[in-house]
């Protein structure tokens, strides 16, 4: 599969036409100022998470968020002769950029609060009804600071981000590891109709669609490669909690209803899929710590 205009390094907002507005919205500034003055925190952590984050030596500072509304115009790319699929580089780029904008804004809010990091980050996609191809990416998490003033910022001097829950965060810290960043990679692949229909043997038997498999495999590997690149730039030791998802968002590669007699539009227009991987990059910061002993328990909370 041909890679799109999207080499190893993840795209940066600088490379894009729209500069990222570094000013947060009015209400955001007001809220953050107030939180700093009144010393009242807000957080979407559950009680158990809140207490465990405190137990791990961190103070929750406040709920932080960022979002970006993005218009994505899906276009079916030209598939080079002899290939079974192609990466749509500019779409990979756009989807990455939109998430990055949301995460940067969340990070800005956290920096404003003087945070060391953000735990429980959730990256959500909202599809709004008011226009076609419009997505909103939203990042939400709880900003935390180390209670003893030890800096837990990452290699870029920024607050770390992690999608770990309070429980996972406590376990990680108790074992001598700490998160350094929420890392992600993506790849939007276009699979033309002939790949979806390509079969080698008799069509009356079940068989693997080898070319289709290959395209998806390739796209997934590209996405994971980009995830690893991000983690390396943070000098991470590893990535935990990696999830790989296939997303179709809402675009579709063509108009529905033009399909073959079985009504599957993908057979005439092909498929446009985003492979998206995320995880939390971690490093070992205290070799003296080890995981506390593990007990067996029967939970009664059902």
């Amino acid at each position: 599969m041909t890679q799109g205009r999207y080499p190893g390094p993840p795209p940066t907002p600088q490379g894009y036409a729209q500069p990222m507005p570094s000013d947060l919205p009015k209400h955001a500034r007001e809220r953050l100022m107030q939180m700093r003055q009144k010393k009242l925190f807000t957080s979407d952590l559950s009680i158990n998470e809140f207490l465990l984050v405190k137990q791990a030596g961190f103070e929750p500072l406040g709920l932080v968020m960022g979002s970006s509304v993005y218009q994505m115009m899906a276009q079916v790319p030209q598939v080079p002769y002899g290939q079974w699929g192609v990466e749509v580089g500019w779409m990979s780029h756009a989807l990455y950029h939109s998430r990055e904008l949301a995460m940067n804004r969340m990070e800005e809010e956290a920096t404003e609060l003087g945070a060391d990091g953000i735990v429980g980050v959730r990256l959500e996609v909202n599809v709004h009804a008011f226009g076609q191809g419009i997505l909103e990416f939203m990042a939400v998490g709880t900003a935390v600071r180390h209670a003893d003033g030890v800096s837990f910022r990452n290699a870029h001097g920024k607050p770390f981000q992690s999608d770990l829950s309070g429980q996972e965060f406590w376990t990680l810290i108790s074992a001598g590891y700490r998160p350094v960043g929420f890392v992600m990679g993506n790849c939007v692949a276009y699979v033309p109709p002939n790949t979806l229909l390509a079969t080698t043997g008799s069509s009356s038997e079940g068989q693997e669609l080898a070319e289709y498999t290959h395209v998806l495999y390739d796209a997934r590997e590209l996405a994971i490669g980009r995830l690893q690149y991000e983690a390396e730039s943070l000098h991470a030791e590893g990535i935990v909690g990696v999830t790989v998802t296939e997303k179709e968002h809402s675009w579709g590669a063509g108009q529905p209803g033009q399909g073959r007699r079985d009504g599957n539009a993908a057979y005439t227009t092909g498929e446009l899929i985003e492979l998206f991987v995320v995880g939390t990059a971690v490093i070992r910061y205290d070799t003296g710590k080890a995981l506390p002993p593990i007990h067996l328990a029967v939970p009664l909370n059902k």
Partner: protein, 270 residues
């Protein structure tokens, strides 16, 4: 010291575990408490602009508060110290000839400390009632409530905030065919969400002043809900809700009870 006494069985929507965990910590359910409010927010003018609609946001907030206050009044009647597991249900906003009508139901279980049956050293623990003998409200589960107490905190009040924004769809014409960030929309959504978060603390600071006995230390379990109203035009409502908590009173024997150091367990439930 008033003895908790009931002449009839108390209703509750607690699960078995919640009930057991609460009673072990000395708390008993006093009854299921409900508060409702139907609110007419009047006619909203659709201006076709990207702007906040303060009247609507205010109405949504007011309706929620009314429902919660009625629930609290019921809890007080039951002689409860507070309400746990509050759920706020919204019956969908209906448009009645241009009027926005919203129905809210707040539902939870009123609980009280049973001094007669509590462990000896907790028998003189002060009540968790707020200033003015008002029961506390919270959306915590029974387990969460007990864990919170064990860590030296108590719930104060549900914290709520709403904000309603109108979004101008015609701005989209500026972006036809492009793959770009729609900055005005980003700003509008961002502001709406932040507005809801902002108001979360507004009432709280007024109801529980900073130097008062119930001055909150923080809000936990915040969730931000998005609801799109599709009447005429494009109206989006954000509502944030969480539970404000504060440290236990000076004389409370539970105050210095540290949360035991957690141990790692392998659950055997699967």
């Amino acid at each position: 010291m008033a003895l908790v006494r009931r002449t009839e069985p108390a209703l509750s929507d607690l699960s078995v575990t919640e009930f057991l965990v609460l009673s072990r910590a000395g708390f008993l359910p006093m009854g299921l408490v409900i508060g409702t409010s139907v609110y007419d927010a009047g006619i909203t003018w659709n201006l076709g602009q990207t702007r906040e609609i303060p009247e609507l946001g205010f109405a949504m907030h007011q309706a929620r508060k009314l429902a919660v206050e009625r629930m609290r009044a019921q809890a007080k009647e039951h002689g409860a110290e507070g309400v746990v597991g509050v759920r706020l249900q919204v019956e969908h906003h209906k448009w009645r000839g241009g009027h926005t009508v919203a129905k809210f139901v707040a539902l939870g279980t009123a609980i009280s400390f049973d001094r007669a049956h509590a462990p000896q050293k907790l028998a003189h623990a002060p009540s968790l009632l707020l200033a003015g003998q008002r029961p506390f409200t919270s959306d915590l589960s029974g387990q969460d409530f007990v864990t919170l107490l064990r860590a030296g905190y108590r719930p104060v009040d549900l914290a709520m905030g709403s904000s309603v924004y109108e979004i101008d769809p015609s701005l989209l014409y500026n972006y036809i065919g492009g793959t770009v960030e729609l900055i005005p929309y980003t700003q509008a959504f961002f502001n709406a969400r932040e507005g809801a978060m902002d108001r979360l603390t507004e009432d709280l600071h007024r109801d529980h002043p900073k130097d008062g006995p119930d001055s909150p230390a923080g809000i936990v379990g915040v969730t931000v809900d998005e609801r799109v109203h599709t009447g005429s035009g494009f109206v989006v409502e954000y509502s944030a809700i969480g539970t404000a908590v504060t440290a236990l009173a000076e004389g409370d024997p539970r105050r210095h009870a540290q949360l035991p150091n957690p141990t790692i367990v392998v659950p055997l439930d699967r």
